[in-house]
Symmetry: C2
Subunit: 211 residues, 2 copies
């Protein structure tokens, strides 16, 4: 007997061709948004933003800058994961204020916590911060991919695009954001031959070692 987590992960595949007539309904998509929101991140800082790209003309422009990959325009939904470029004391302050509010604490009592978070960030160079933030965003991507599969919704993570062009099309620099990875979400086309291929994974021996 296989646990449903595993059968769902076996069912999913990187969908190359979507059925553009099938839309993910609003309630299901709301679950996926909540998954992204609930995703844990280092220090709870959530140093990213999720752009939900609905505008068909913008989707077309993005597709042109992504090797013409059809999921960008044909999938029901497109989420662009962006890094927050302002990983600084302001981001920390907003998190600390939120913590005080959520947990009904006095903000004065969180000063040493705030100091600790700022010290942690100050120990990183700008590029280190971006790589750290990117890794946090990929936890969210992992949650999204798994959750979609569990809702029997298809998706594909897209890394192969012209990041600078995406940033320009969407005016991300002015928003202090940087495009990281996209995820197209919807339903597979019966014509997508990839769904019929056996999944390829390294052997347990190659992937694991007990010490």
């Amino acid at each position: 007997m296989t646990h449903s987590i595993l059968s769902d992960l076996k069912w999913r595949y990187a969908t190359k061709k979507f059925d553009s007539s099938k839309k993910v309904d609003a309630e299901q998509f709301e679950i996926l948004k909540n998954v992204l929101r609930l995703t844990p991140s280092s220090y709870g800082l959530q140093p990213y933003k999720f752009l939900l790209i609905e505008n068909p003309e913008i989707r077309k422009k993005l597709q042109e800058n992504a090797h013409n990959q059809s999921p960008i325009t044909e999938a029901s939904h497109l989420i662009l994961f962006c890094l927050n470029l302002k990983i600084n004391s302001e981001l920390v302050a907003s998190h600390v204020t939120n913590t005080a509010h959520t947990r009904q604490l006095k903000i004065e009592n969180l000063k040493s916590y705030e100091f600790h978070l700022n010290s942690a960030l100050n120990n990183m160079q700008h590029n280190e911060k971006l790589n750290w933030a990117a890794r946090q965003a990929y936890i969210a991507l992992g949650h999204l991919i798994q959750s979609a599969a569990q809702l029997k919704i298809d998706c594909i993570a897209l890394e192969g695009f012209d990041h600078k062009a995406f940033d320009e099309v969407l005016g991300l620099e002015q928003k202090s954001l940087q495009s990281l990875v996209a995820c197209a979400i919807g339903y597979r086309s019966t014509e997508d031959k990839y769904q019929y291929l056996t999944k390829v994974r390294r052997s347990e021996n190659e992937l694991f070692e007990t010490i």
Copy 2:
């Protein structure tokens, strides 16, 4: 009504204190290993390895190099995610051979696929490759965290440790591996006060923007 994916993600938290008397049973842990194995990765290359650290003395040494964080020794299981430092044509060749074997294809027919994968890797500098590999590993971390929650198993992802010391204790350089992030897995102690705190997350308005 909340979907169980969301209630499980709300149930989980970064467990700071584990009940060391409670062990994750072998069958459940096998599910988590299979989740890690099924995790998708860019080009399917799985440029990482998972070390299952069982040896209590080694766990103690690791704890000493990780701000003495107790989950490292007290949790039932400890998985160390490591980057494969040999992201090269050999890694590609092993993937292509595996693909041919899994899908019962002739390896000669996968030559252009192999060339494409090698070109993609050759376009990256060494550091870019490592950051790319790290992001792939964090998809696996996302799957692991979510799957553990769905099995009502607790965990905490640990990034705050002396990576060089970990690499030395485990002799990772000789294995062409580099420590990335650890995940301690087990069951929460009733004494862990963090489980009773309200989860803090940025608002939907802050995290999402529709375009």
